[in-house]
Amino acid sequence: MMIKMRVNGKSHELDIQPGESLNLILREHLGLTGTKKGCDSGGCGACTVILNGRAVYSCMTYGPKADGGDLLTIEGLSKDGELDTIQRSFAELYAFQCGFCTPGFIMATKALLDSNPQPSDAEIREALVGNLCRCTGYTKIMEAVRGVSKKGG
């Protein structure tokens, strides 16, 4: 079946199978491998993208659900080779080690800060509870998110 979607500002028309996930479409059809395939069962958050302004797990979003949608992935954040403020904060504050979970954390953070630029710690935890990190731990990630929101990023 054919679906249309905008990904990082660019329109695409794609021929997909109805049961294909958005994760597979991004990674295999569009070559956008920044969005990770982690647990592939809605448990780790590494596949988080922003669909129509809201964070979703791309692993459990069926492709047709994104038909006509506006999608933002980690590749859509930097502009002219410059990191986005959230990416910079994660890098400057050492909020990652292996980096596998980082795109998911950054996209979940982006969705949070777009709707709530000055979140409390409880609100940050609430927004990131669906994202797991297995090497850095969460202290640095919390610092990175607080770092962006303080700067008004």
């Binding site: 079946m1 199978q17 109805p18 049961g19 996930s21 592939d40 069962s41 809605g42 448990g43 958050g45 988080t48 669909l51 809201r54 964070a55 979703v56 797990y57 692993c59 459990m60 979003t61 069926y62 047709p64 659900k65 979940a108 969705a111 935890r125 609430e126 927004a127 509870v129 669906g130 994202n131």
Partner: protein
């Protein structure tokens, strides 16, 4: 090799068309947000699925006050309901608490009301919050036949909603005016976990005392448990947070039958949890009422 390979994705635009598709195509499965469909498919339980039927074209996405009733369409997403003013009144507290206790946000941004109730899983949070407010389910079926079973009856068994061939859910109705306050509580092991047991209660407070109450529990057995006798026992008690609920909560035992024992918790532990959660829910509802 994936076993879930639906060949078609259908987007009917009327309720009659949905019914027709469901009755005429073997293996047609409705998709709301698809989060539970995904879970079932991953476990190999949807290998017979030939077509996914998306209800978006029916525009079942409204949240509307109709006299004393509040109606929400089957396609309303859980995060949309949570953000809506309609759930901010104290009487809707059980629904709001249940939505707030669902994690992660990535799931709430996809999942729909229709999917939450039609999954028919008693430890899901929203059904318990809704049932505490006497929710009924709007069911549309063959011959444009419509019926409105109580949600607590609709969730017949694990993964078994009361849907006959061709039937589907168009929305859910609650009766917030029957109560002045309500609340929901849940016990789980991590911030991102399913409920081991959850509890919703709604109260009508008059002249400083509880005039009527409703108590619903999930995670206890394969369907929702409505604790009628316990709710009756709350009548006349002082409508303020306190220890007056200890004794009625102890009496819950008699109403908890066929309690599940599994790898997560024994039946005995679940029964104990139910009492604690009921007391917490009552105190939360009454604290909420005081503003």
């Amino acid at each position: 090799m994936p076993t879930f390979q639906p060949k078609e994705y259908l987007r009917p635009s009327t309720a009659e068309e949905v019914t027709m598709v469901l009755t005429s195509r073997e293996g047609a499965v409705i998709i709301g947000g698809g989060t539970e469909v995904y879970e079932l498919a991953e476990r190999g339980l949807l290998s017979e699925t030939t077509a996914l039927v998306d209800l978006t074209g029916l525009q079942l996405d409204g949240i509307e006050r109709k006299g004393p009733a509040l109606e929400a369409g089957a396609s309303v997403r859980l995060s949309e309901l949570e953000d809506h003013d309609a759930v901010k009144h104290p009487s809707m507290g059980a629904v709001l608490d249940s939505l707030r206790s669902i994690h992660p946000v990535q799931v709430k941004n996809l999942a729909t009301i229709g999917g939450a109730v039609c999954s028919s899983i008693s430890f899901f949070d929203l059904p318990v919050g809704l049932a505490a407010l006497d929710a009924t389910v709007q069911v549309f079926g063959v011959g444009a036949n419509q019926r409105k079973p109580r949600l607590a009856d609709f969730m017949v068994d694990f993964l078994t909603p009361d849907l006959k061939p061709g039937e589907f859910v168009t929305g859910v109705t609650v009766e917030p005016d029957a109560y002045t306050t309500s609340a929901f509580t849940k016990f789980c092991l991590t911030g991102n976990d399913w409920a081991m047991v959850n509890c919703g209660c709604s109260l009508k407070v008059e002249g400083g005392a509880i005039a009527s109450a409703k108590v619903v529990l999930g995670g206890i057995s394969s369907g929702l448990v409505t604790a009628h006798e316990t709710a009756d026992g709350l009548r006349g008690l002082a409508a303020e947070p306190g220890s007056q609920f200890d004794e009625p909560a102890e009496r819950l035992d008699g109403e908890l039958r066929d309690v599940v024992s599994d790898y997560r918790a024994s039946a005995g532990y679940r029964k104990k949890l139910a009492k604690v959660l009921l007391r917490q829910a009552l105190n939360r509802a009454l604290t909420r009422e005081r503003g």
